[in-house]
């Protein structure tokens, strides 16, 4: 693993909150509370590392990614990228900052314009940020396609002519067009078949080594996150419950939710599977509009006592770079 402990902090998230207001009627809007999609996250990402963000659907992991890029303006808290507080920037200044920070999406068929050829889609960011014109632009597009392993004649093609794996490569090329330093990868391999998944994971790893990229890798697939990440944060109902380097998190999980989550993932090995014990969580994830009092996990936690429903546990560092949010940690 890369020595990251002393490398520069590229992104700092402090007490980030994203709430979506709930209103009853369209005309006479009445405030009825809020969906607390992200409710107080703090973490740092260091240059050159891959930070994994895992959790179940609705835990706020994608909202976190979008709030970092200011695609949702945070309700509270700060996002500092290379020391600049992004929450204070206006839209015009933010657009300039986005050259350094890009996003890769799950569904590239939906994120590419169906009426634009691949070449046109790739030339757009180059034009917006005035990075290349004329012959230079053509050359740069070729270079980008080569980087993601797509033959150059694909510039003439339309998104519907491409397979899922090829579309994801184009999505990556488009993000790379502006030479970013930081990329939010939001479920980039979830829609792909396993054989194609491995191609894209390897591509992301190669590009990171070659271009010195920093990733925030958002996924619900714990095996993929373990494979690609240096450090991993586990989210539950808008909060990070545990954050540690990948070896510690997967080998010595401390938070009961992390333990249950890891035990629920099937391992493709029949002998290993036969010996495993599952921690079965009962019930469903509570609504983020009415999160439980105290620790958000107490309603489903096997170890919960009265303190858990009364006091909110602190997010504390229990050993070096291993953070847990549990009363019993």
């Amino acid at each position: 693993m890369k020595p990251l402990g002393d490398s520069e902090v590229i992104l700092q998230v402090e007490e980030l909150k994203v709430h979506f207001a709930l209103s009853k009627t369209f005309f006479f809007s009445k405030y009825l509370g809020a969906i607390r999609a992200v409710d107080g996250l703090s973490f740092v990402i260091r240059r050159g590392e891959t930070m994994g963000l895992v959790g179940e659907s609705g835990c706020g992991k994608s909202t976190t990614g979008q709030a970092i890029l200011q695609l949702y303006r945070p309700t509270a808290g700060r996002v500092k990228f290379q020391g600049v507080d992004l929450t204070q920037l206006n839209d015009r200044k933010m657009r300039i900052m986005r050259r350094k920070m890009q996003m890769i999406f799950q569904d590239n068929y939906a994120s590419l314009n169906p009426r634009m050829t691949i070449g046109e889609s790739l030339s757009e960011p180059l034009g917006v940020h005035q990075l290349a014109t004329g012959k230079q632009k053509v050359k740069r597009i070729r270079e980008l396609l080569e980087m993601v392993g797509i033959p150059p004649y694909f510039v003439q093609r339309y998104p519907h002519e491409l397979s899922g794996g090829q579309l994801q490569r184009i999505g990556i090329a488009r993000a790379l067009a502006v030479e970013p330093e930081f990329i939010v990868c939001d479920e980039p391999v979830s829609a792909l078949d396993v054989s194609i998944q491995a191609q894209i994971i390897n591509l992301l790893e190669d590009l990171q080594n070659k271009l010195g990229l920093t990733y925030l890798f958002i996924s619900h697939d714990l095996s993929v996150v373990r494979h690609i990440s240096d450090r991993v944060a586990v989210m539950y109902l808008g909060k990070i419950v545990e954050l540690a380097n990948r070896t510690d998190l997967y080998k010595r999980p401390i938070h009961p939710y992390t333990k249950a989550l890891l035990s629920a993932v099937p391992i493709p090995d029949p002998k290993v599977e036969k010996l495993r014990e599952r921690i079965l969580l009962t019930g469903d994830v509570p609504s983020p509009a009415k999160p439980p009092s105290g620790c958000r996990f107490w309603t489903r936690c096997q170890n919960s006592t009265s303190i858990c429903s009364q006091n909110e546990p602190e997010f504390k560092e229990i050993e070096e770079d291993h953070w847990v949010c549990c009363h019993f940690a």
């Binding site: 396993v194 491995a198 099937p266 391992i267």
Partner: protein
């Protein structure tokens, strides 16, 4: 485990779709058996024919454009292909039940779930409305839905994804099927909910002795659940073996490639994945040679000339691969 009685025998099943561009051979001559109480896994990538083969057995392929032919689909001694629509309706949902990936689209959004469970009880078992309702409540309790007496009158949108899948399972099991086909039944669910659903199906299978066919792309689920595994690629059954043989002694280039390309939760150091390069073939005008040949990492010269036939590797272990893969086996 040994399985004595054969429940379903599929012989040379072919499902072809006639389209403007040509004939899509979605399933191209697959044969397999399912025994009483067995759990069989079907793996393969999207478009490999896993779901189409299940729908063909159920008689749910629309014709045209689809055309299902086989030497026989024998279920409990009866050839399903010879049944008329009415007789088939008696089998489907009764003796053979199916659960799908997306419970929201398979449940009727304007009918109460209790009514939907009772419907199959009334049709297949001829129960009276009140008796069917009581049974529906019992079934909801059995699949672990709390406050079943109240929830029986709720609509599908009032349930979460995992709960809806439980309702689907209650409907599927309502008439005591001998074979349950689960088609990517947990793919849309979160892992903790997936674990609940798998646990539930396992428990119900132990109690009722139903055979289960799990169609999934998740090799982890296969490893934990199945006795036997069928591996499909481009509409063909490329390997069929016990779960241990598939994972430790794979005998097809595709199975081997699949196993090497997945990241594992229990991997120790950061190893590089070995992806299967390229993309699956177009099923129109596909050659008779091995369909995996262009992507295969272990292909030999013979693969480019010889048409693959089913070959026995060991007792109960069949493959269509022309290459001997024994040097890749691990114990």
């Amino acid at each position: 485990m040994s399985f004595k009685t054969s429940l379903l025998q599929v012989k040379k099943l072919k499902t072809h779709f006639h389209t403007q561009d040509g004939v899509v051979k979605a399933v191209d001559g697959i044969s397999f058996d399912i025994y009483e109480g067995q759990t069989i896994g079907v793996v393969g990538e999207s478009g490999s024919g896993k779901s189409v083969s299940a729908l063909s057995i159920m008689g749910l392929i629309p014709s045209p454009p689809g055309k299902v032919s086989a030497e026989g689909i024998i279920f409990e001694g009866q050839d399903l292909l010879g049944l008329n629509d009415n007789q088939m309706r008696g089998v489907r949902g009764g003796k053979i039940a199916m659960i799908f990936q997306d419970p929201m689209t398979s449940l009727n959004p304007v009918l109460k779930v209790g009514w939907q469970i009772a419907e199959s009880l009334r049709i297949h078992l001829g129960m009276s409305s009140s008796k069917a309702r009581r049974r529906a409540i019992e079934l909801l309790k059995m699949v672990g839905i709390p406050l079943a007496e109240d929830r029986v009158d709720d609509f599908p949108h009032q349930f979460s994804g995992g709960m809806r899948q439980r309702v689907m399972i209650a409907i599927a099991l309502s008439c005591g099927p001998r074979l349950l086909i689960a088609d990517e039944a947990t793919t849309a669910l979160d892992v903790t909910i997936q674990a609940q659903i798998i646990d539930l199906v396992n428990r119900l299978q132990r109690e009722t002795g139903t055979a289960v066919m799990w169609i999934t792309h998740d090799l982890g689920i296969i490893a934990g659940l199945c006795d036997r595994v069928n591996v499909m690629y481009a509409g063909r059954l490329v390997e069929s073996a016990s779960v241990e043989d598939i994972f430790y002694r794979p005998a097809h280039g595709y199975t081997l490639g699949l196993l090497r390309s997945i990241p594992r939760l229990d991997e120790d150091q950061k190893t590089r994945l070995v992806p299967i390069e390229g993309t699956p073939p177009d099923l129109i005008g596909i050659s008779a040679l091995c369909p995996f040949l262009p992507r295969c990492q272990v292909a030999k010269e013979v693969c480019a000339t010889q048409i693959p036939e089913v070959r026995r590797v060991a007792e109960g272990h069949n493959t269509t691969c022309l290459v001997d893969l024994r040097s890749y086996w691990r114990e």
